[in-house]
Symmetry: C2
Subunit: 253 residues, 2 copies
């Protein structure tokens, strides 16, 4: 998208991201945007020391006085502003990091797509937790099998086909979800493809040929210098069995 | 919030809302905002005639040429703009209908709250459809019982307590979720309380005393002239067993 727009109050801004340190989760969509843009940010709960670590995150969430508390992580502190909800954070950061076109209609469209990504993520998560997030997977394994079967047959292809269609119809720029250059929505597509490959490798091996544009977009994002450096760094939490994307072979059928 | 902000391109605008005609669903949050503001709008799929009805909605969703197709209803047409995702629609309409404060920080906060409403709605819906939306309730009844139990014990009070806290901490205006006057978030709180009372009457009878602010807010919204007129009209679809809020006594324990 070229240069970031000018927000005079943001010059020299150090963003503080608050998210669980042991998982990619929803926070990863924000991390990818910050990393791609080379933004100055602190991943608060992943660090230690004064004003850092999970207790700081918890203290904020459980504060008795914060007038505008977020419901859950991730949230972003930008000077005095606290912004919760992943898609809302990206909507705020997008123009500041040069990761969305300037026109209001395009920003609204990018946000709409990101909200659909968030809807998809809930369904991905609920394949392994269809009954309650507070229970272990093993306590809802039979329900998970049933939910995953429908997810793989109907929902996964439905969402991927939709995003492939959007990508193919972008008349402004070939190979981007919207506009003429990279936006945070492209980064989110990368994360979806990467996560689904981790969680459902057999399914993805079967369906990827139906969504060649998304796969090519994933590949192009992977080799962008800032993203490649990030993925190779310790800042990228590896996929694991605690996040949204989990690999249970019995669910990948 | 006083008067709507001035958007010269919107003067004399007739909004077109596209949503399923037989349910309140997510579209209801948009309908409430349009009704409260006395906006000029057409509920496209609920009408018949040229350019009206469900086929028009379907044709748009299934178009082979629409460059920016929404993933699902509701979507709003405002002149040439098509806006999908409920919270995104409200974020667009809010300032135009005078249903959100002007400052960017307040609009972002309102949107954050609305996104949390949307998260809550998914969990409410999934109490009766924990396996797949494409199956009937009776095909997932045992899983629904299990999910609803956890929902009622943990999630319903968690979300309601959060919104009650936000309401209580608003230092600008007593009895509103944010700012000094009514916003679309207040209308959404009304709809949540009304819907939960329909779906889970026993549970709500038990928990309402813990969230007196939300209950009072619900009551005040009910008697606002435009809302009262709307609720008494045929434009308000009654609660029923096809929407997000459904009353299955066996889930309300």
């Amino acid at each position: 998208m070229g240069n970031a727009h000018i927000f005079p109050e943001d010059i020299g801004m150090r963003y503080e991201l608050y998210y669980w340190p042991a998982i990619q989760g929803r926070g990863e969509f924000v991390r990818l945007a910050l990393e791609e843009a080379g933004a100055d940010y602190v991943d608060v709960a992943r660090l230690s020391g004064r004003g850092r670590g999970v207790p700081v995150l918890m203290r904020f969430l459980e504060s008795d006085t914060e007038e505008r508390p977020p419901f859950a992580p991730p949230f972003l502190k930008a000077s005095k502003l606290v912004i919760g909800q992943t898609a809302n954070i990206l909507s705020y950061l997008g123009p500041r990091l040069g990761l969305v076109p300037k026109a209001e209609a395009s920003r609204s469209w990018a946000h709409q797509l990101q909200l659909t990504v968030m809807d998809f993520l809930v369904e991905i998560h609920d394949t392994h937790h269809p009954i309650a997030s507070s229970l272990y997977y093993r306590q809802q394994k039979s329900e998970a099998r049933r939910r995953a079967k429908h997810f793989i047959r109907d929902r996964l292809p439905g969402f991927l086909d939709y995003f492939e269609t959007v990508l193919a119809r972008n008349s402004s720029g070939r190979g981007f979800m919207l506009g003429r250059g990279l936006s945070y929505v492209d980064l989110s597509m990368f994360q979806l493809v990467a996560g689904l490959r981790y969680a459902f490798p057999k399914t993805m091996a079967r369906v990827e040929s139906d969504v060649p544009g998304l796969v090519a977009l994933h590949d192009r994002v992977t080799v962008r210098p800032n993203i490649a450096a990030y993925l190779a760094s310790e800042r990228r939490v590896p996929f694991n069995q605690y996040g949204i994307f989990r690999h249970y072979p019995e669910l990948d059928v």
